[in-house]
């Protein structure tokens, strides 16, 4: 079904590989980090930024400014990470990023598509930087503060309703992680978005089956997630989250309802060595120089593949 010679798939695949490689390299350099999120969500993020989202370009990759204070009356010049998504417009999409713990993968994606300066990753989790470990709304690509998970969808629904009232034709896309479906607020938001028929609202979910304590199935269980979402009045497609054509078809579907794509993913994709850490994949921390050396070898292989490709 897929056409391997088609240009967009080639570009998207390259961006996905770049996300994995940049995050892996970063984790090796710092001895720890959020690697499995990049493994699971690389195609999904690459798909959004190269194919799905209608965003204005940025003039040049943005160098992240230093942190200059939280929002408030004393800080009228506060800017959100939405600037990395280009100037907004009535016909353009908005992208609301919910799982703030995926920030490293998001920053890597922004670099791969030329919206964030590659040096920006050097600021990751550095004191005084906006490139925060668990991104806040001044962090690149982030415009709502959702480190307390499951708060983005409600806000996106409000944004979508406001845009609909204004006559905007652009959509509001939200990326979520499956663990967020354990929070009651997610279901409040799903029910109310269907009630108000917010059909300019779209959600893509990285269903990687992982959360902080381990397997979702062992922590909270989200069986029949698609059925549950459809029962709440949404249209919902369930696809392989590493299959670009399947992702594209599901994301492009116009259903006249709020629409969700459940992207089922493998949190070790591209770094099969990670499977030995299962089920605790939330963050990777090297226990010994020997272990780090094995991961370094895996990274070197990945980097060589990229050069060959």
């Amino acid at each position: 079904m897929s056409d391997p010679s088609a240009a967009w798939q080639d570009r998207t695949r390259a961006v996905a590989a770049g996300i994995r490689r940049r995050v892996f390299e970063h984790v090796l350099r710092h001895g720890e980090g959020y690697l499995s999120q990049a493994c699971s969500a690389a195609e999904l993020l690459a798909m959004l930024y190269t194919r799905t989202l209608r965003l204005a370009p940025v003039d040049a990759p943005i160098v992240p400014p230093p942190f200059t204070g939280v929002p408030g009356p004393a800080n009228p010049d506060y800017r959100t990470g939405a600037v990395y998504h280009g100037a907004p417009g009535p016909g353009l999409d908005r992208f609301i990023f919910s799982p703030a713990q995926y920030a490293l993968a998001l920053y890597a994606a922004l670099i791969e598509v030329g919206r964030l300066d590659p040096a920006g990753l050097d600021d990751f989790n550095r004191d005084g930087s906006t490139v925060e470990m668990i991104g806040a709304e001044h962090s690149p690509g982030i415009e709502t503060t959702t480190g307390s998970l499951a708060q983005a969808l409600s806000q996106a629904a409000g944004i979508a309703v406001a845009r609909r009232r204004r006559g905007d034709t652009g959509r509001v896309w939200v990326m979520m992680s499956d663990g967020e479906f354990e929070e009651g607020q997610t279901w409040e938001a799903l029910a109310n978005a269907a009630f108000h028929a917010i059909d300019n609202l779209r959600v893509i979910v990285d269903v990687n089956g992982q959360q902080c304590d381990g397997l979702v199935s062992a922590v909270g269980n989200l069986e029949h997630l698609g059925d549950r979402v459809r029962a709440f009045g949404w249209s919902c497609d369930e696809v392989d989250g590493h299959d670009l054509d399947a992702l594209d078809a599901a994301a492009a579907r116009e259903t006249g309802r709020p629409h969700m794509v459940l992207a089922f993913t493998d949190p070790t994709r591209g770094v099969p060595l990670l499977a030995e850490k299962a089920p605790l994949l939330h963050t990777l921390r090297f226990k010994s120089p020997d272990e780090k050396a094995r991961y370094q070898a895996a990274y070197d292989a990945l980097a060589r593949e990229a050069v060959t490709a």
């Binding site: 408030g72 009356p73 708060q151 409600s154 806000q155 409000g158």
Partner: protein
């Protein structure tokens, strides 16, 4: 001059006020008529959003509308705003400093609905929340004028709102002003600081106290945060015997605590007696019953003043019941003549 009683002033006032403000929208969570916006919904149906009985989503939904330039006026019971959905209030609304107005009904013990419906720690929690402005209405004039005060704030605002039948203590010509206390009487022995419905109790107490020769400078506070009015500090400093505060709230973290902070910050050595709920939840009963049971009524304020002046004044509940409260215009604010 007798006191005017007003029935549901918010209903028509909010409709008229919102007429030329298309950016104002209402968000409710299954308490539309209970929050006096049923007629508002029927008047402006395209500006009204029901989010169902789901307050966490409500706070986020309102935040999204505010991010796009609308000014949502959440209407529901106070407890369901700050207690049920605090993380959403803090992270989705207050942190980004969004123009969301949270109109919280049934402050303190003003409901026989019992502990689940009684907002007794809201001022404490929201005073401790960065970016928040916290307002409280004390009569019909303030219910009518709080909207202008809230609308002028470029950030989130929480309002302790009165509903139903209420007195008009303050003339229509003297609307609520942000962080500006009303001086209701002058006297140099004791400064009494009250907010919300405690002001009516305070007025009753002050008449009886003045008749006994106790000079009371009575301040009505309608802004809990910010709390920087120089009049408050001047009135605290000027009392020869001490300070009494009265609030329809716990004495922890609310008005009494705010006054204590002002006293300590300024290095003043004033005695302070706080009237309010004392580390306890309440229960379902009438307002009059609860005010007596928990020591929130005029008699409790008199007794607090007795503690400050150190002598019994011979005022009883019977006398206070027959003390008429009359409308009060503003006395001179010290701060304005400074």
């Amino acid at each position: 001059m007798t006191l005017e009683t007003v029935v549901r002033p918010h209903v028509e006032n909010f409709i008229a006020w919102a007429k030329d403000k298309p950016e104002v929208v209402v968000v409710t969570a299954d308490l539309t008529n209970s929050s006096e916006v049923g007629k508002w919904r029927d008047t402006y149906p395209d500006r009204y959003f029901s989010v169902g009985m789901a307050e966490q989503n409500m706070l986020g939904f309102a935040a999204g509308l505010a991010r796009e330039g609308y000014t949502p006026y959440i209407h529901t019971f106070a407890v369901f705003i700050y207690r049920r959905a605090y993380d959403q209030l803090a992270m989705s609304v207050a942190y980004p400093n969004l123009r969301v107005r949270m109109i919280g009904f049934l402050p303190g013990i003003l409901t026989p609905g019992g502990v689940t419906h009684q907002a007794i720690e809201d001022v404490a929690i929201l005073r401790a929340t960065p970016n928040m402005t916290v307002l409280e209405t004390g009569d019909a004039t303030e219910v009518e004028s709080v909207l202008d005060v809230a609308q002028a704030v470029d950030g989130p605002v929480y309002v302790r709102m009165l509903r139903g039948v209420m007195p008009r203590l303050f003339p229509r010509s003297e609307p609520m002003r942000l962080d500006t206390a009303r001086v209701l009487s002058t006297g140099e022995d004791v400064t009494l600081v009250t907010a919300g419905v405690e002001t009516e109790e305070g007025l009753r107490a002050v008449r009886a106290l003045q008749a006994r020769g106790v000079g009371v400078r009575h301040l009505h506070v309608s802004t809990h945060k910010p709390f920087d009015d120089p009049e408050v500090l001047a009135s605290i400093a000027g009392a020869s015997r001490g300070i009494v505060t009265a609030e329809n709230h716990l004495v922890t973290g609310g008005l009494g605590s705010a006054v204590a902070e002002r006293i300590a910050d300024a290095g003043l050595g004033q005695r302070l007696v706080r009237v309010g709920l004392r580390d306890t939840y309440a229960h379902g009963a009438s307002r009059a019953h609860l005010m007596r049971e928990y020591g929130l009524d005029a008699l409790a304020i008199v007794q607090a003043v007795e503690r400050v002046v150190g002598e019994p004044l011979g005022i009883d509940a019977e006398e206070l019941a027959h003390t008429e409260v009359v409308p009060v215009g503003a006395a001179a604010r010290n701060a304005d003549s400074l």
